[in-house]
Symmetry: C2
Subunit: 180 residues, 2 copies
Amino acid sequence: MSNETYTLIIGDLSRELPLVRPTPNTRLPLVEFLGDTQLSQAAAKATLPLIPTDTDMLFTCETSSIPLVHSLAELMNLPYEVARKRRRPYMQDPIIQDVQSMTLGVGETLWLDLRHAEHLRGKKVTIVLDVVASGGTISSLEKIVVRAGGKPHGRVAAFSHGQPKMDIQVMQQLPIIALD
Amino acid sequence: MSNETYTLIIGDLSRELPLVRPTPNTRLPLVEFLGDTQLSQAAAKATLPLIPTDTDMLFTCETSSIPLVHSLAELMNLPYEVARKRRRPYMQDPIIQDVQSMTLGVGETLWLDLRHAEHLRGKKVTIVLDVVASGGTISSLEKIVVRAGGKPHGRVAAFSHGQPKMDIQVMQQLPIIALD
């Protein structure tokens, strides 16, 4: 079973993704942008058409989405902000927002330092994630945008596991593999 | 006091860095690569000459160093790996390594999934961080390289706070500002 993979194809690029097991009877392909600059760039190019053209800023959370969003920000010449999953000692008056993540099976908390929240104010902000499942993380990021005085402008993910339950622009849907 | 900044200059690029307060009587300039693709690229270009030329792979830990290492990996056409600071649910037989970080004032733990550790085996691995202080994180990353069967090949940081106590190639030293 450990040698099972799923073949991901984006344009000319392909990757054999390992299958991970969120529940005993299902398998999910694991996409990892960290460490793979070619995959990040290919996915950024393929995801670019989904970003609303008048977006002022991209917004994501750590960690796995960072290479994708970094590559997209370079392609579009846009700034981006990253909500943290742990409080950092230098944060001042951070926005603190709970999130219920199906992927982790536990609640988490997102933190955005006031210095960074100020960058969102009055801006048209598009949220970008590497992979969405339930959409819980996107909802929480959107709440942070509103609390920071920004305007939620789009929801984009490179990949989804199954069909998202909310309105999200997805570049490629990955299968949820059910086993007997 | 909150308006104090430190002017960082890298080539043609400059940034006004906020000063943070690790202890009541000191201030440190806060460098943040997340969200700043221009700073990441400029620092990557300036740090590039410090990477040993026969490096097979770069190695860092999440989160703040990722944009720098991503940009360096693109410039050098090298793969990189990222040790995580939290266990991820999909990890299998991860290498688990404690680190004593002066920056956080508490111990942390680094995790590297076996699938990624296997990429380090037999490779000449250069460790790259955004900012070093005591060098505790670099030491722990080096232990992971050895445990994974890789060859520690270099220690590089874009910035240091003060003079590092170990042999590390540093692109630019940032001041530790002592107050009366």
